[in-house]
């Protein structure tokens, strides 16, 4: 298994139109998307994107349709060329790669899962899953062995001789996932991979991904328009609006400290009891509370409230993974956070 690698996106701009380069400076100087479109007939796709993605983490890029999120993910494997900017992976700028280098980069460093699956309809599940290995020129026996392992891993054993049209949407996306994982690329790009699936199947597939990630530790870039999905699977989340990153941070940051009204509006319907963790709401450890019941720092807020109600106490001791007491959580703070307040001053 390859070591996880990080992705550095710096000062990335994308303008669509006949002469995009002519407008970069104007956009840098503050021309808005509407002005650019009305006065110059160019569409601003992305504006000054800077995201640093930690190796082996799940980075969610979230936004509504038209926010530029699908454009952004296509820059990472350069299915779309940027107007200006850099994408650095393993010390190399993807933007500067020649066509041959780019092909090698796509074959070995990245794999992609698509919203509408994008499977080859004339090929069986097995041949679809083996596609990435096939274009790399790996011999048939070996690529079938690898593809079969991943088909089994995503729960499609017994379907390898079927054609995609014989499978349901959820099963087709499992094939898409198996195809991407069979490549064993350190970077996994998922473009609204679950958006076309039913909610229950979507939840299921999120679980599959989180389980797999425990095993494979890839650097995953996950695009979604679904906030619940973003909060559930993202180690870090970048919120995109009109081609601009309006907030980056952990799920906790975004729910507790929305950067502006737009984000606040977005997160107001979130089930805070499930999303927020005890560690985000606790106060630092104090003396003299040693006899209170204990709760894990990673437990959810709802779990903390339930324990307080059961034990009929106002305070819980928060313990880290190693069993150390790291803080306390108070009933009134917990209720306040649950009801939509921000983090209490420590």
């Amino acid at each position: 298994m390859a070591d996880p690698i990080g992705i550095e996106i710096r000062n990335l701009y994308k303008i669509f139109g006949p002469t995009p380069a002519a407008y970069v400076d104007a956009v840098r100087a503050g021309m808005t998307k509407a002005e650019l479109q009305a006065n110059h007939g160019h569409v601003l796709g992305l504006r000054d994107i800077n995201i640093s993605i930690t190796p082996g983490s799940i980075q969610v890029i979230m936004g509504l349709s038209g926010s530029g999120k699908s454009t952004l993910i296509r820059h990472i494997n350069r299915l779309i060329d940027p107007t200006t900017g850099e994408i650095e992976i393993e010390g190399r700028n993807v933007v500067d790669m020649s066509q041959d280098e780019l092909r090698e980069f796509r074959r070995h460093k990245t794999a992609m899962v698509f919203q509408k699956f994008a499977l080859l309809p004339h090929r069986t599940v097995l041949d679809n899953a083996a596609y990435g290995l096939e274009v790399q020129g790996i011999p048939e026996a070996e690529r079938y062995r690898t593809a079969m392992r991943w088909i089994e891993r995503v729960g499609l054993k017994g379907f390898e001789k079927n054609y995609p049209s014989q499978l349901s949407g959820g099963m087709q996306q499992r094939v898409g996932l198996a195809r991407a994982l069979a490549n064993d690329a350190p970077i996994l790009l998922m473009d609204e991979a679950y958006s076309a699936l039913d909610p229950l199947i979507r939840y299921d597939m999120q679980t599959v991904l989180l389980d797999l990630q425990q095993e494979v530790r890839k650097t995953i870039v996950f695009i979604t328009h679904d906030l619940d999905e973003a909060l559930r699977i993202g180690d870090r989340i970048a919120l995109l609006r009109d081609g601009l990153v309006i907030q980056q941070g952990s799920a906790q940051d975004i729910v507790l400290r929305p950067a502006d009204d737009y984000v606040a509006n977005f997160v107001q319907h979130v089930d805070r009891g499930k999303v927020l963790k005890v560690s985000s709401i606790m106060s630092p450890a104090q003396e003299g509370t040693g006899d209170a019941p204990r709760i894990d720092a990673n437990a959810s807020l709802a779990e903390a409230l339930r324990q307080m109600a059961e034990a009929r106490v106002q305070t819980l001791l928060v313990t880290a993974g190693d069993g150390r007491d790291v803080g306390t959580i108070q009933f009134d703070n917990a209720i306040n956070a649950y009801a939509g307040g921000t983090k209490p001053a420590a």
């Binding site: 092909r103 796509r106 790399q136 014989q166 490549n183």
Partner: protein, 295 residues
């Protein structure tokens, strides 16, 4: 009012000179380059003679067996097999076996040639909008220009015989092959191609692993059309010496032999239907994976 009822045309003597100059130039061209051009097309002669010998030289029971085998292999349907054999048996009983084999060999040669020329042109046409803009009017001319008109230069250059006949048939039968290849490739789902790119396919890998297989149903329709158009041309081609079912038809027109014309006409219809059913059934079977059991 005469100026408005008769269209103001170029001077008669001018037009006469113009035609004379062009005819003269073409005749000179023919005289100086005719042999070279004939040499250039001589491999076609070899192909034609080979395919005609293959079909007329093979004993008829073997031809029947091969056709039955092809029909079964393509369609897996007894109706198509029985229909094909019955058609050929009737043709044979009515004394048209030899002519039919000559026509079939000509159609096969024309189809193979059309695929060899049409497939790459169609692919290139799908790649380049500019090439498509240039090629489209050329194809329009090829399809609508009355065949007799382009028979003239072909005969002047190459004389009477199989090769000019084949060229005339290919000119007529080629456009659907090119057009439908172009269409098929342009219709391939862009998301699938994006996926092929994302996994690092080379241009060639993308073509043979994604574009051509996905365009295949449309390309098969093009081949089917090409076969039908080639068959439709056999009567006209017989005017410049192509042997087969067209010649008796021609004789029937000249001498008003009604029955001779009808028999040979039905023989052409019969093999057209035979080709069509077999090639379509095959095209359909290639699409087995499209039979969805899920909505």
């Amino acid at each position: 009012m005469t100026w408005s009822t008769s269209f103001p045309q170029l001077d008669d003597s001018y037009l006469r000179d113009l035609k004379k100059v062009i005819d003269e130039a073409f005749r000179n061209f023919t005289r100086s380059y005719g042999d070279m051009i004939e040499g250039f097309f001589s491999p076609l002669q070899t192909l034609l003679i080979w395919s005609e010998r293959l079909l007329t030289g093979t004993p008829w029971p073997i031809i029947l067996l091969v056709v039955a085998g092809l029909a079964w292999g393509a369609s897996r349907s007894w109706r198509v097999v029985v229909g094909s054999i019955l058609t050929l048996v009737l043709i044979g009983l009515f004394g048209m076996w030899e002519d039919t084999m000559k026509t079939v060999s000509m159609v096969l040669a024309a189809t193979v040639l059309s695929i060899i020329i049409g497939l790459p042109l169609g692919i290139f046409m799908a790649r380049s909008d500019r090439f498509r803009a240039v090629l489209n009017p050329v194809l329009d001319v090829m399809q609508t220009m009355p065949s007799f008109v382009y028979l003239i230069p072909v005969v002047m250059l190459l004389g009477i015989g199989k090769v000019p006949g084949l060229i005339a048939v290919v000119i007529y039968a080629l456009p659907p092959m090119i057009r439908l290849t172009n269409l098929g490739i342009r219709q391939v789902d862009p998301e699938v191609l994006e996926a092929a790119d994302a996994f690092g396919s080379s241009a060639w890998q993308k073509l043979v692993k994604a574009e051509l297989p996905l365009a295949l149903p449309t390309i098969m329709a093009g081949i089917n059309q090409t076969i039908m158009m080639a068959l439709a041309m056999v009567v006209i081609a017989s005017m410049i010496g192509v042997q087969g079912l067209g010649q008796p038809v021609l004789r029937a027109i000249n001498n008003q032999y009604f029955t001779l014309g009808v028999f040979n006409g039905f023989a052409i219809v019969g093999i057209a239907i035979l080709f069509d059913r077999i090639s379509q059934a095959w095209g359909k079977r290639l699409q087995k994976h499209r039979e969805a059991s899920h909505g």
